[in-house]
Every structure is written in structure tokens, then in C-alpha cells.
């Protein structure tokens, strides 16, 4: 038996030609001058992402920065009686930490510069790898930040501003968070939040929290639903028919009478009309026919059935409360309405209209991601929603 052969992941490292041959000399010079700076930037970014080897060190540094902030910012209302041993100790530690951090930063910068100066100069590949790392980290930071704050128009900006103001008022006026009571503690909390935001733990936690239905409901209540044209209103079948009729978004066909007996049988009439409808739909032809003819209006009703994948990969008709419901219809004006079960339409056909199709025509499923963006016609692990359309045609003799 032949052992399976595994495909390899795409990496760029194999495809690179020696860069030294292709890079102009001034660029090389500039890059090598930039090298220490790049190292420092890379280290800062890794610290922000907590991807260094020694993550407890980052934590310790974070604590030291907090103590320094505590020391450097004099509280607004300093009460002398409050200064007990612990406060004095903390202030002393803050002083120590401030000086230690300064020394530490200076030491680090010094060692970076000294080591790059004393060791062999970096190769172009070294620099490029470093640049790629920096770019990758920046990319990750940007992506993670944008996951939380996407501000693409003024409305969203306004929403964020109101929310932020609301939170500030809650914190400062009503002391919602027990720890925050002055600028100093606010600063410390903000610092800690920012520094731990990009850890994999917090990112994972946020993703897990995003799974909660109630959180999403609250979020979309605040942000408004994803679909721009989606209206949460329900449209009754009759209203839908009236909307189509008033908008005249039906197709008119002319049936030439060749044999009157043909028209007596409803079956043949239907078949003729379906033929004509499909012709008309593809190539609208406005030919005047002199032979005696009858004019019919044919209306096509389209209902979209939506389903969402829940646990265990089971497709159910239950969708989320802020998104389209199980059945939706698109009105002639482009708005999406919730709809009844299509089977209710058959009993609600308006007067003078007759069914053209025997049954509902169901299209195959189209699969999409969590936001109903179409992915393809096959189900996969990245598909969480699916849609298909039910169509049904009715006709009437065109009133004169």
C-alpha cells in the first residue's frame, strides 16, 4: 500500500532569490542603519502582543508601570491622615519602579546598539525577515483592533462617542467600577486594559464571549442590524400581492389563439403560459401580432427560506432575533420583509388570479457565512447559513 503524500503549506521562504543581488546599495545601507531601530520596534510589538519568550516579565513590567503611574500622578485630594505605612511603602516602591524602568529602558537600548555594532553586520535576509515580522505583528494588531472598533461612517462614530460618554459618566459620576475613583486609577486601568488587550488569552476570551446570543442581541440592538435593507416588519401575503400589483412588477404575455379548444383545457393553457413566460423573461419582445390574441398577467412570487447552522452542524429554521427570519420576501422596492410560511400564500391568492404552477418551485440551497454572505453551493465548516428560494407563479387575464 502506498503511503499518503501530504501537500505542503505555502511559505514564501522557498521562493526567494538572494536579495543582495537585486537590492540597490543605498537601500541596503539605509536598511542596515535601520536594523537596531527595527529590532526595538519588533520587541515593542512582541511585548504588546505578549509573544516574547518570557511573558511573566511583561506582567512584572506592567505592574511596575502601574506603580510608577501611581507614584507619578499626585492624587487630586491628598489627605494627610491617609498616609499610613502601606501608602508610603507603595509610593516608595513606585519611586523605585520608576527609576528601575528608566534604567531598564536605557540598558536595553544600550545593549541593542552595542550588540549590533559589535557583532557581524546583518544580512539582507535578516533584515527582511525582521521587517516581515514587524509587518505581520502590525497586521495582527490592526486586525484585532478593527474587530472591536470599525468606524466607517459618521453614524458609527457618533454611536461610539455616545457609548464612551455614557461609560465615562457611569464611572466618574456614579462610581460604577469600584476601583476607579480618580484620574490615576482610571489611567492605570486603561493602561492595563490596553496592554493585555492583544494577548491571545483576551482575544480568545472575546471570541468566546462573542458566541453568546444575548451579547450579540445587545450589540446589534445598539449598532442596528447588518442588512441595510432588512426591515423587521412582517409582510402579509395579501399585502405583498398588492404591492406587486401596484408596482406593476409582473410580466404581461400575449397568447395567440390558434385553437380555441386549447384554451378550454386549463392544463394546456398553463403550459402555453409557462412557455411564454420563460420567453418573455429571457427576451422581452414587444411584437404586435395581428392574429387574435389574449393578454395575461403573470406574477412570480419569490420567498426566500433561510436556515442557520446550530450546534452539532444541525440546520434549523431558528435564526437570530436581529437577522432575517426563517422566510423572507424581497419587496419590489428592495426592502427585505419577514414573511409567512409560503404554504399560506396558496390560500391567499387575490381574486381573479389563478395558479399557474401546481407546486412551489424550490431552488437548491446556497450556503453563506455567519453574516449571510454567499460562499457557494456546497456546505463546509465555514458555512453557517443557507438560503434557497421558493417560487410560485399565478396569472390573470389582463383586465381591459
Amino acid at each position: 500500500m502506498e503511503s499518503p503524500h501530504y501537500a505542503q503549506f505555502v511559505t514564501q521562504i522557498n521562493q526567494r532569490i538572494p536579495l543582495i543581488m537585486t537590492t540597490p546599495l543605498p537601500v541596503l545601507k539605509g536598511l542596515s542603519d535601520l536594523y537596531p531601530l527595527l529590532i526595538i520596534i519588533d520587541n515593542i510589538l512582541s511585548t504588546l502582543l505578549w509573544t516574547t519568550d518570557d511573558s511573566p516579565l511583561i506582567f512584572v513590567n506592567m505592574m511596575m508601570v502601574c506603580l510608577s503611574i501611581r507614584y507619578l500622578f499626585i492624587p487630586n485630594n491628598l489627605i494627610i491622615t491617609e498616609t499610613c505605612v502601606q501608602h508610603m511603602l507603595l509610593d516608595y516602591l513606585g519611586l523605585l519602579c520608576t527609576s528601575f524602568l528608566m534604567c531598564s529602558t536605557g540598558y536595553y537600548l544600550h545593549t541593542v546598539i552595542m550588540e549590533t555594532r559589535n557583532s557581524e553586520p546583518p544580512t539582507v535576509d535578516d533584515i527582511v525577515i525582521l521587517l516581515e515580522n514587524v509587518e505581520h505583528k502590525l497586521h495582527v494588531i490592526k486586525k484585532e483592533a478593527l474587530n472591536l472598533f470599525v468606524i466607517n461612517n459618521y453614524r458609527v462614530l457618533f454611536q461610539w462617542l455616545t457609548l464612551a460618554t455614557f461609560i465615562q459618566v457611569l464611572i466618574f459620576k456614579f462610581h460604577l467600577l469600584p476601583y476607579i475613583n480618580d484620574t490615576k486609577s482610571y489611567l492605570i486601568v486603561a493602561f492595563i486594559t490596553v496592554s493585555i488587550f492583544h494577548t491571545r488569552t483576551i482575544q480568545g476570551l472575546l471570541q468566546i464571549l462573542w458566541r453568546l446570543q444575548y451579547l450579540r442581541i445587545v450589540y446589534f440592538w445598539w449598532r442596528g442590524p447588518h442588512d441595510k435593507f432588512y426591515s423587521i416588519k412582517n409582510l402579509a401575503p395579501l399585502a405583498y400581492f398588492n404591492m406587486i400589483i401596484s408596482n406593476q412588477s409582473y410580466i404581461t404575455v400575449k397568447l395567440t389563439i390558434q385553437n380555441t379548444e386549447e384554451l378550454i383545457k386549463i392544463e394546456t393553457l398553463r403550459n402555453r403560459l409557462i412557455e411564454l413566460y420563460e420567453q418573455e423573461e429571457n427576451i422581452p419582445q414587444m411584437t404586435e401580432i395581428s392574429t387574435p390574441s389574449l393578454t395575461f398577467n403573470i406574477m412570480k412570487i419569490c420567498v426566500k427560506e433561510n436556515q442557520r447552522k446550530w450546534q452539532n452542524g444541525a440546520w434549523t429554521e431558528k435564526t437570530l432575533s436581529y437577522e432575517r427570519s426563517n422566510f423572507t420576501i424581497v419587496s419590489p422596492f428592495g426592502t427585505v420583509f419577514n414573511s409567512d410560511n409560503p404554504l399560506n400564500y396558496e390560500t391567499n391568492v387575490p381574486p381573479n388570479w389563478i395558479k399557474l404552477d401546481e407546486m412551489w418551485n424550490k431552488s437548491p440551497w446556497t450556503y453563506g457565512d455567519g453574516n449571510w454572505q454567499v460562499i457557494g453551493s456546497k456546505d463546509s465548516t465555514e458555512c453557517f447559513t443557507r438560503t434557497r428560494s421558493w417560487s410560485f407563479r399565478i396569472f390573470q387575464r389582463k383586465p381591459k
Binding site: I13, Y108, T111, P122, N133, T201, G204
Partner: protein, 502 residues
Amino acid sequence: MKEYFRLKYIELLDSMLNAEELLAAFKDIDSANDETSMVDDDIEENSNSNKSVWNKELLTKMASSLVNVSLTKLKNQQQQQPGEDDDDDADADFLAMEELQHYIDKTAINLKSAGEKPFVALFLDKLISRLVPEPLPAREHILPDVVDQQISVALLASNVHKLSEKMENVFEFQDTIVRVLTWRQPSQMILILLLFTKICYNPMYLILLPLLYLSLGVIVKQYNTKYSEGTHSRQSHRGKIGKSLFNDLFKNDPSYNTNGNDSNTTPQEITHGMQVVLNLRDFQNLTTSQLHMMDTFSHFLNETAAFKDERTTTLLVVGLLFSCIAFKALSPFINWSLLCSGTMWIGAIMTHPKLLPRLKQLCSSHSQVKQKQKQEESSTSVMKYDVILDQQPSARYVEIFEIYRQGLIPTTWKFFIYSTSLFNLTDEYRRAQTPPPGVKDLSQVQAPDQWLFDPNSKWEIDNNIGDWASDRNLDLSLDKEFLVDSAFKRRRLTRRVLKKLS
């Protein structure tokens, strides 16, 4: 026909098993009786006969277990076989005959193989259950329905095997802890100290931190390994550039350490077998150190705290009580959070490998001067006169009966024995017509264990004969200090004993 054979065979096996069990039980009872009777015999005889009986017993028990196990095995196979052939038709007689033949062959051949347990393990189990008294003393269980399992060699062996595999993680964890505590990873040490401080100031963190760890450290980590693809940052071949002042200052470089046992072996070299041996070694070290610790503890309990050295223990008690009072008096003035965390920080910093040698140096230079002074002091006064040991030892009285036998003439009495037994008419030795345990000479009588005869006392004849006779509910005739029955007379000797002190 096959059924018939099978049933007969099983019946036979059953009866054999039963008989064998009975035999074993009988032996057990027998030996138990022997032992009880032998206790009261002469000591030398006792030990000799006991040994021989024990050997014999062991042999019979081993043999019986051997037979039992093979019979059980056989029976098990018998029972397994028909289960497989259950869906045979009754009509096909000759087929059944064939199968019978086939299956007799099978039992003959496969006697050793197959079955739930290997033969040796089963044999050992049976042997153990025979050798050990039938109901083993049970352990206490919290849940009432938990029952102690019977001892099984196979289970024990598999448990030890599994445990040695599981212990790997424990030892790795121990390694990590040691690495952290010796400041080889200073940031983790500081982190632990910070968390400890936090716990000191708010004990609720004892609950919060494990919860946080479980949610963020374990579950979210699992989520990340499942869903996120990780960072794709590429490593260049150059080493890390730039140093951290923190690590340079506080890190204890392990290359300074001389115990280079671990540094020689890289992880790739360790094979599975080696890992097992390694684990066993660690396990051995662990048990050794544990035993050592328990020894130290028991030494403290049985020697230092048990008045072996009267003065030390007395001073220990007084010192402990005084420190209790002092601590209690001090406690309202102590900021516990600060004290605990401060002690921890200072302890951790003091034990830093870079600082400790210097501190020791400092201390030793300091203490050398003091020790000289002390030595001068102690040479002048070897004995300490601070504890007065005039405790009265507890004193009790022991008794022995001096028994005389009637001679041929009723008025002549001949000394018979010194015994703890009264040897009256209802005495069991008297009824068995054997002499009671005792000695011929009074000087051979020993004081009870942990007691000594008071050297200032002598054996005294108890003249108050009416009292001790009525205490023992004896209605016999009196003759001076003697209590007389048909063939023997005895008198009671008492002597004072003192409790041994060491």
C-alpha cells in the same frame, strides 16, 4: 449427550472445589487452635513447634491454592465453551459428538492459555488470600457503599505501571517549581510573589485566581489551540539582540551550578524505557525523602517531645507556652497582610543564589565572634541548673502467689512454685493437671514491662488473707497466711514497683 457430559464434569469440578475449600478451612481452624493453646505452653517449646507448624501450614496452603487455581481455570473454560456453542441444534447428534471430541482436545491443550487472568497472577492472588486471615481489617470510607477490593497482584502491578507513567508530569512540575524557586526564571518568581501578596491582602484571591486560571489559562487556551492558527513570525538564525536589565540583574545562571547531571542529556536522547527508569529513580528518591521526613517527625514526637531528655522537653513546653502568650499579645498590633507578604518577599530575596553566599559570609564572620564568647561561657558551666527534676515516679504494687503442695502426710507441705495463677480448684491449669506458669526461685520473678522493683522494698507476705480471698470470691480454709485447699496451699506476696523513666 454432550450436555450430560458437561453437566457431570462441572458437578465433579464443583465437588472437588468444595472439598478443597473445606480442607483449607479445616486446616485454618486447626492451626488457629494450635496457636491459642500453644501460647500458654513453655516458651521454648512454643516457638519450635510454631515454626514447624507454620512451615507445614504454608506448604499445605500453597499446594491447596495451586490445586484450587487450576481447578478454577478448568471450570472457567468449561463454562466458556458451552456459551459459544449454545446455538447448536439438538438434532445434529453426531455433530455434537464431534464437537465434544474437539472441545475435549481444546481443554487439554488450551489449559494454560486464554482466560481472564494469567495463571501466575491468579495463583498468587489465591495464595495471598489463603495466607492472610479471611476478613482483612477494613479501612474507613467516607461513602458507605465503597468496599475494599480484594488484593490482586495483576491489579497492583498495573497500578504501579500506570502510576509510574503518570508520575512523569508530577516530576516535571516539581522541576519547574525548583527552577522558579532558585531564581532561574526571576520573572516567574516575582509573578508568584506578586500573586502571593495579592492573596495576603485579600484572601478571596485564593478562590479568584484558580477560577481565573481555569477559565483563562486552561479553557481559553484550548479554544486558541483549536481555532487560531498562531503567530507566523519567522525566526532568523541570529540570536536575540538586546538584554533586559531585569534578567541580567536577577537571573541565576544555571551554568554556574556544578551539578551538571541534567545538562548532559538532551531531551532527544531519552527513550521510553529510559523514561520509565528515570521515573522509578525519581519515585525512589521521593519515597526516600518522604521516609526521612517521617522519621524526623517521629523522632521529634517520640524523643524530643516525649521527655527522653527531661530538661529539653520541659524547656520546650515552657518556651512554646511563652511564645503563645507573646504572639497572642502581639497579634492586635500586627498588619498580617503586610507581615506575610513582607516575610515572603524578604525570604525569597534572601534565598537568591547571588545574595545568599554573601549573607552567609556576613553571618559567619559575625557569629564566629559570638560563638567564641559562647564557648568560653559554656566551658565554665557544663551542667545547667535551671530545671529541677524531682518528679515522683508512679508507684504500684505487684503480687505473686507462693504455692505449696501437700506431702504424703497431710501436715507436710512442699514448696511447689511461684506463680501469678492461684491454682485453686477452679483454675484451668489445675483442671488440666499441668503446673501453672511460674518460677521456682523468687529472684527470678521480674517486674512488669516498663516497671522496676523498688530497691527499698522487699516481697512482703500479705497477712490480711481474708480480704484478698474474699476479693477473689474464694471460700477456702485459712491457715495463718495460707489459703488451703485439698492439695495445695498458697500465700500472697506483694512488692512495690516504680515506673521506669527512660
